[in-house]
Symmetry: C2
Subunit: 107 residues, 2 copies
């Protein structure tokens, strides 16, 4: 497996965490079972392109083929906020609790 494989899985995991999503939450969004997300993030399985794209899509990421010579330039761009704030936090990590089924008793 080429090196890109080792770099993609961690990026997916990081993006998910930065969006404040649990594997199960992402599973619900994507339809991809939590067990599989776990394996993917740990590089246990060699997932298919459609699966990768589906995951990426739900994490506001896009899969691109970049000419080798342009990689540094691209990294300079995405490196600055690489998966950083992404678009919208989607979920800012509730300090209290509420997820969506629990009422807020403190506001």
């Amino acid at each position: 497996m080429a090196y890109a494989a080792e770099t993609i899985a961690p990026r997916l995991k990081k993006a998910r965490e930065q969006k404040g999503l649990s594997q199960r939450a992402l599973s619900a969004k994507t339809g991809i079972p939590q067990a599989k997300i776990s394996k993917i993030e740990n590089g246990v399985i060699d997932l298919r392109l459609s699966t990768l794209i589906e995951l990426a899509r739900n994490l506001d990421l896009d899969l691109m083929l970049v000419p080798r010579k342009s990689v540094p330039a691209v990294q300079a761009i995405i490196g600055s906020d690489a998966g950083g704030g992404s678009s919208q936090p989607d979920q800012i990590k509730p300090a209290y609790s509420l997820d969506d089924d629990e009422e807020r008793d403190d506001v």
Copy 2:
């Protein structure tokens, strides 16, 4: 299948052609059977990540996950020479045999 899937296959094909490689030549380089390369380029199969990376590697391309918000910027960069000259032609294209164009009259 997300849209990225439709965009990746053609890019692989274009990159291969621009490097002057036949499917069989690429097959020899990668070990991936020609029959499969054909299917991949035509979007007939949902290839695995390792396969995609292997193909990309041999075409001087790198697979990257780009934050959606950065996609336009990245496209601006790689768009200018997207899969263009890449690194080295890999195949020096015999001037006499002319396999591309016949503009050999003015240099």
